[in-house]
């Protein structure tokens, strides 16, 4: 006998994501899921963001890593609270992992919460976790063809940060073509061109964050 189901396989995850979202919104936390390949500069961007904004806002970072606590340690050295989630070998953070981390945080006191996802352009895009915004980084050395390889990621994020812009003169990364591709797939996405090393574009990025914080 055939039984019709027609249900999204991610249903159970999405229900928990909705719960996370409610909890974050009730506590007026601006939550941001930060995704990118390993080595694209997620932690460096967060460290620079913390330096720029920590006097104005209470910031907290959840670091999801397959194994080490290195990234969380770097955040803590900037004087900001960081929580480490060990994903136990999983390639992504799911809603359940974020939910468990949220339970241990003083959400009422937090203005800005980053979830630094596992370095990966594929799987994190498939799991809703309940953050208000999701952003991704694409570093110049990775190449301008990546939107075609990872369309799910590029077409769903709220912002794309092109990182390591100081490498641009050394590479054949076609910035114009890249921007045209991303805007074509995802017209709502903001694009920021940033180098943490030179400081290029950092103010545009933090300005966007401050504007989002006002709307919370």
């Amino acid at each position: 006998m055939k039984v019709t189901v027609l249900q999204n396989i991610m249903n159970a995850n999405d229900k928990i994501a909705a719960k996370n979202q409610d909890m974050l919104e009730q506590n007026r936390v601006l939550s941001i899921n930060v995704m990118a390949s390993p080595g694209a500069g997620k932690t460096s961007l967060l460290l620079e963001t913390i330096r720029q904004l920590k006097d104005k806002f209470k910031i907290c970072v959840i670091e999801a890593d397959i194994a080490s606590t290195m990234d969380a340690d770097r955040i803590i050295r900037e004087g900001v609270q960081a929580v480490h989630i060990n994903t136990g070998g999983e390639c992504h953070t799911d809603a359940n992992m974020l939910g468990a981390a949220l339970e241990d945080l003083p959400l009422k006191e937090i203005d800005l919460l980053f979830l630094e996802n596992v370095g990966n352009l594929v799987c994190p895009a498939e799991f809703r976790i309940g953050t208000k915004k999701s952003i991704m980084l694409l570093s110049v050395p990775e190449g301008d063809d990546k939107p075609f390889k990872y369309p799910l990621m590029f077409s769903t994020v709220d912002a794309v940060v092109v990182s390591k812009m100081d490498y641009l003169p050394l590479s054949d990364f076609d910035l114009e073509r890249f921007e045209k591709t991303v805007r074509g797939m995802n017209p709502k996405a903001e694009i920021f061109k940033v180098s943490v090393r030179t400081g290029e574009g950092v103010a545009d990025w933090t300005g966007w964050l401050e504007a989002q914080l006002k709307g919370i």
Partner: protein, 113 residues
């Protein structure tokens, strides 16, 4: 590569639906998965055989219907399959497109005894 966690969700859903229908055995599970998903069919079946042991879905066969990526031009409305390194509309040459197929990830039906 997260077939194991996804497979547990497939198993739970199939068992729930079978019990709701008053049946005691799931023999087949029909899944619809878009090509934008990273899921690999063989890995899911492999994980499924492992997690379904000693359940009413043990030994069930998984069937995958794959949906290719398809986009629609926001300018002229043409629907097409994008090329590997270009999503340019073949009709009007614009680059603005919406993904309309290829993101599917659902259970279509199950076959039960």
């Amino acid at each position: 590569m997260h077939e194991l966690s996804v497979t547990q969700g497939i198993l739970d859903m199939a068992i729930e639906k079978a019990l709701e229908a008053g049946s005691k055995r799931v023999t087949d599970i029909y899944l619809v998965i878009g090509d934008a998903s990273s899921i690999i069919d063989d890995c899911v079946q492999f994980s499924f055989d492992f997690v379904s042991k000693d359940t009413i879905a043990e030994g069930a066969r998984l069937h995958f219907q794959r949906i290719p990526l398809q986009v629609r031009c926001r300018d002229c409305g043409d629907v097409f399959r994008p090329q590997k390194e270009s999503w340019e509309c073949p009709q009007c040459k614009k680059w603005e497109v919406d993904i309309i197929k290829g993101k599917e990830f659902y259970m279509e039906s199950i076959e039960v005894d």
